[in-house]
Symmetry: C3
Subunit: 342 residues, 3 copies
């Protein structure tokens, strides 16, 4: 027993600690193909080398969310093995596309700690960076989780709550080097709607749905080397095998192709809530609200800030009840920035 990883408990964290997460991962065309088998992903930049090259990139990158899942997965053994809840994300930025052949690893810094008043748990804030084989940061994000204490008598640490941006400013977004949408092929991409055609406040029902299966979410979650027991061991929770929240994010993003086919690249993650748990048998659908628009200096490239909501029933565009809480059918409320041709 001594040799297995018990995970860190709340009192094991200190502000300023650096966690070098284990098990680097070389991502290849195999991961790329699996992403397309697991999600109805159709954004052309991630589907076709030729299309990506026509947009100024060297080839089709690994899906932005696949890169996120790999980076995130590495943090689980050190950050969330004893987590009670994943509370939030902020300041997520994609800094460099990840290509087949790249090797990713993750490093986190503990940037905040706050013991809960019940004395049994506390909130841990980490800023995680994903690095490639050249030690370039390919993405970064802040996540905070509620973690159990091992020893309820351990003293509470000094409370440090980091100041986090509610929303990334357009200037914070990094457009991949060379990206150029000035000769973008809308017909090949699948929809005619360009950045100019989207208005702040506009909502889009993405219409399509996928009923999720046990085998699929486990294949996905393992592929990201995410080790959280709840996603694999059906005997672990009385209510069933919990689906990794990232599986819902990827499914909803892929479904959003229908109406947002030109929202090619994800560059910012402002925030996100896994509003309710998802289990096999749920039929995931998605809708979007356009929250903001911004220009970029890259040729032909605009940015859209979107709310992506995944549901397992209910009506499109319903989000919260009269009590202000998420409706029980809402799975995900994600706030992110994408790049789109103007």
């Amino acid at each position: 027993m001594a040799k297995t990883n018990p995970g860190r408990f709340f009192e094991d964290y200190a502000v300023g600690q650096t966690l070098h997460h284990a098990v680097p991962r070389t991502v290849t065309n195999g991961e790329r193909a699996l992403y397309h088998a697991l999600y109805p992903a159709r954004h052309a930049l991630y589907s076709s080398d030729a299309f990506a090259q026509s947009c100024g990139l060297s080839g089709s990158p690994i899906d932005d969310l696949a890169a996120f899942h790999v980076v995130f997965g590495k943090t689980v053994p050190d950050v969330s093995l004893n987590a009670v809840a994943n509370l939030g994300y902020a300041e997520g930025r994609w800094l460099k596309p990840v290509y087949a052949g790249d090797t990713l690893r993750s490093v986190s810094e503990v940037i905040g700690l706050k013991q809960n008043s019940n004395g049994k748990t506390g909130v841990v804030y980490v800023r995680t960076r994903g690095l490639n084989q050249r030690d370039e940061t390919v993405m970064e994000y802040v996540r905070w989780v509620m973690v159990r204490k091992r020893d309820l008598d351990a003293p509470a640490p000094e409370t440090v709550v980091p100041e986090l941006k509610k929303v990334l400013a357009p200037a914070d977004l990094v457009v991949p080097e060379g990206l150029d949408f000035s000769s973008y092929d809308f017909a090949l991409a699948g929809e005619p709607h360009r950045w100019d055609d989207y208005a702040v406040g506009e909502t889009i029902d993405h219409v399509d749905g996928v009923t999720v299966e046990e085998a699929e979410h486990m294949l996905a979650t393992r592929l990201w080397q995410n080790t959280a027991k709840v996603h694999f061991d059906l005997t672990f929770r009385p209510d069933g095998r919990l689906i990794y929240g990232g599986h819902v994010i990827s499914m909803a993003r892929a479904l959003s192709f229908n109406g947002l086919a030109n929202a090619q690249m994800i560059v910012g993650l402002n925030g996100g809530a896994h509003a309710n748990p998802c289990f096999a048998g749920d039929t995931i659908k998605a809708w979007t609200e356009v929250l903001d628009k911004a220009d970029t200096t890259a040729p032909g490239v605009g940015a859209l800030r979107l709310r992506l909501v995944a549901t397992k029933g209910g009506k499109p565009f319903d989000l919260r009840g009269a009590d202000g809480k998420y409706l029980p059918e809402v799975l995900l409320d994600l706030d992110y920035w994408v790049l789109m041709p103007k």
Copy 2:
């Protein structure tokens, strides 16, 4: 809502229209491996680079049916999103092997239209071509589907029913450049039976069976970027989640290895009927009838015309009832040409 793709209705088609289908796709060794995970595919030419090279090719191609599924998948949003039924295939030809790294896109021409007498639906005939990154046509086929009208009062178009070959003539078949079976290794390929050993009228029970699962057919269908809702959303049809007909084709073809291990390459699709729907839990088996034989000018290469029947029960070689209709256990009746060593 305006931004999502409602699909085309019958009155949206006109003879002579060209449909440039969206979302090109780079196929890689990832797709290759997934094909082998999804189907019990064992034809040596598609399993081993060394074997393919010994047959005069540059390496092991992507399975012919995988290429077909990718090309077909791209047409779904433009051709069959509002289809009531997939009525038939004809004049399908594989013109060039597809290799890992190739990028495929699809273009269709509307070649026929016929409104049904009920005034609610009509038949649309399209000739689809799959093109690679060098704009070479890698395959082509004709498909006709029954499509709903949006507006029942829309006038019926002039009826145009294309003349289609019932069967491709041997001269229509394209043998891949360089293909040479003159030093073919039958032991490595798995069976001793050569072209000479098959007789017209001969039937083969392929014996093996696979009970299909929801997760598998969805992984496959997504991999081909086929977006038809019926294959993914369990709430869409009262009788269950319909399995993509192409999944049945690939499963039956792979099962046919046992008895047809040397039927290496598919070069022609004369016709095909999805006789009954397939659902998860069905156990697919297959049998073959040899319909014709033809020589080719390539060294050591003969052609066989085969009927491949997939079933979910019943007895081998039973196809139609006394009423002339397909028996309820028949899933697929496919008429195709293969290349085999002489």
Copy 3:
């Protein structure tokens, strides 16, 4: 029917026979990614090219067990299609790492035969070698299976029972050329425990569990081109679709990461028993007992002999009942050698 493979029966084998198994297979990054999707595999050497290069290899190999499964799968049509039971393994050695792009084929020699006293079945011993495209042996092992007779009146062959090593001696193990653990990064690998930290007799409960699904084990078994009907056709056995024993081996090995993260490479298989059948819905857990330790001449590299036990319930470290038989919850009892940094 004459054209399908009925498999060999007991009287079809003769000591000294060489079986050239069919369908060579090129393994790629696609197979690599699928292995990581199918099993919670996290050993760093197989996950990261950069990590493998820091250990003196040219890149990250295909998982040792994936290589085993591919080699094993090819033997099924010739060895175990009419097998009643898989009785044992011995003298398994991994001789060269397999890399993406390598093409594997298998050759077996019949090294023993013994008809059972019931006259209906017999035991067949084969030594199987896996060869790459350069005709180098990448692995070898002995397997013996109980096979049905076709004709009960066929005369019994002379009994030949090969003398097999109960355990490979340390000198029998082949350390991959260039392997060097002298600057091994324990933090990146995921655990601090080195060879010196393991003691003979020590037991490790690997804690994590995976509830297995039908779709997953079929994807795996097909990927290895294993054609045994019992793994695919739900109608074949009254008790359900039997999971390929190799799926349990790979699942248990991957789960053993938690406590054996530095047991990087498998180099020897001393023996193994599939103690009880595994079906979808079973939750696989694993525990290990350290059986022996040995030094090697490679820099920083030690060897550990481990017993890996997979279970579907019960308590860790329980193996046999008072009657000396495996407990009903035990799925696998595997005896193997690994290489680990000192």
